[in-house]
């Protein structure tokens, strides 16, 4: 039972993460390889604040603020200046610089040894320490995310973000500033990535830089690509495939030392097949074309 709950919690964390990238890549059209930066900053800031005895909600809010003000602004600046491939490259660079910083800033992040003993969230004097109670909290955030994006999809703002993706000059000609919509989509992306980072840190209670590498960013991006973007089913499917695939392989009694490699091969194969035969992703409406 605990095993199932564990998988469910992870699935929910990744669903939030996939949604957070979907708003930036799917709606905003910004292909970024630095989602693990937002995720990681969220995890680290909440971890440090929780260890210093702060409230979970307070820590989350501070983490969101820090994340938007630093990482959000950096990525927004990149998005403002660069297009297409060069934006992707710059976000890749940002990701690798971030990894270098959390790896080497020993005083704050404890470097490669990671931060241990992160306390479980306490909200209204109730400690969410057992897996099943944590499931409650993560389910709350997942539902919040899904409902938010369900309604956000119908708003004017969302349509303008999509318009910016499709034709920036057209948005400009309406007298709107496309950069504003870019900033909104990046900020939303940062906020939800922070939430999932905070959940991850307090659930696992141990974080180290190896969870926030470029590989993580690539995986999050592939989740969105496999699931497809533009509606709420895509990110859920993408995250589900990524989380459930290794568990499925476990039932096939695959030898353990080969499982990780085999899983990556299978995952990359799925990605290639989707790009080849259904470029909009499994449920997507929108296809990346030049």
């Amino acid at each position: 039972m605990n095993y199932l709950i564990h998988i469910l919690i992870f699935l929910q964390i990744y669903i939030i993460l996939a949604f957070s990238l979907n708003i930036k890549t799917g709606y905003g059209g910004m292909f970024s390889l630095c989602q693990a930066v937002f995720y990681g900053t969220g995890a680290y800031v909440t971890a440090i604040l929780l260890l210093n005895g702060f409230n979970f909600i307070f820590a989350l809010v501070i983490a969101i603020l820090i994340n938007v003000l630093f990482n959000g602004i950096v990525v927004f600046y990149l998005a403002k200046r660069l297009r297409e491939l060069y934006f992707t490259l710059a976000t890749l660079a940002f990701q690798i610089i971030f990894y270098g910083i959390i790896y080497n800033w020993i005083k704050l992040t404890n470097g490669p040894y990671g931060i241990t003993g992160i306390p479980k969230p306490i909200i209204c004097n109730i400690e969410f320490s057992s897996p099943i109670s944590f499931l409650l909290i993560s389910t709350f955030f997942v539902l919040l995310t899904i409902i938010f994006f369900y309604f956000f999809h119908k708003t004017y703002l969302s349509k303008m973000i999509e318009a910016t993706r499709d034709d920036e000059i057209w948005v400009n000609s309406l007298g709107k500033n496309p950069n504003r919509y870019k900033f909104v989509s990046i900020a939303l992306s940062v906020i939800f990535a922070t939430i999932s980072g905070a959940l991850y840190a307090s659930y696992i209670s141990y974080i180290d830089p190896s969870s926030f590498t470029i590989n993580e960013s690539i995986l999050i991006l592939t989740m969105v690509l496999i699931g497809g973007s533009g509606n709420i089913y895509g990110p859920i499917t993408g995250a589900a495939i990524y989380i459930l695939l290794p568990e499925f392989l476990r039932f096939l009694n695959f030898p353990d030392h080969l499982a990780a490699n085999f899983q990556m091969i299978l995952y990359a194969l799925i990605l290639l097949l989707i790009i080849r035969f259904k470029p909009s992703g499994l449920f997507g409406k929108f296809e990346f074309k030049s």
Partner: protein
Amino acid sequence: MLQLIINSFTSGILIAMVALGFGIIFSTTKIFHLAHGGIYVSGVYFFYWLFLVVGIGFVYSLIGALLFTIILAVFIEWLVYKPLLKRATNPNIVLISSLGVFIILVNILALIAGNDIKIFSSTLAKSIVISNVIITKNQLNNVIVGLPIIILFNYLINRTELGIKIKAVSNNLTLARVVGIRLQNIRYLVFILGSLMAVGAGLLKAFDTGIDPYSGLNITFTAIVATILGGSNSLKGTIYASFILAFIQNISEYFLSSQWRDPVTFFILMVVLLWRTEGILKYKIRLDEK
């Protein structure tokens, strides 16, 4: 100091070889060929298998490895990139599918050969000591083998008819087609040439410090930075940029730590992308050029 310069010169040759291979593919096909790193490693592993496991002579193994590289390069282009070309896909999608190919190649290697570092000779290499400068035999190998290959490559691209054809395709695709150049053949050729350069560098690197399946991505990233630093159409620029990068990497390793090497490299990339785009890049990235 002199030691630093010599070290950067010898590692710069390796970077230049990979970067030239990457650059020729990127400028001609506009494909962001991350699988380059996968080819770099697979060629070396095939050589390793022929040379040490099967045990045929050095020359035969070398020929075998190069043939394998050619087949692999053509296969990847035929299976993955060619279908995408027809649909005129977003360059970022091509990048992701290239990443997928990379993941598959590397994990297949890890499945077959294991994750550990493969070393060709376990004894310490002989070195030449001139006053206080140490040059190892492998570094000398880099210069003796690598430098002629780079010069030959330059000659091939700049002086022969084949090279002119490749340049024509990279400069103006439509015009090149009008003149009657067969685009597909040029693409295959470019992939073969680029991959051979990568495997050459990989072999030199393997004889120097050994190689593991994941080492390809790192040098590909460095090569990408060198290519963009040097301007995507200029061979000379790429070569100079490779040496500059190698020097900066060596300096940052010497004064900071080896963990800062990649962040520093990518910080340079970010700076170049943001503030020196016009002078160095020749590929349209700005909105108003679109």
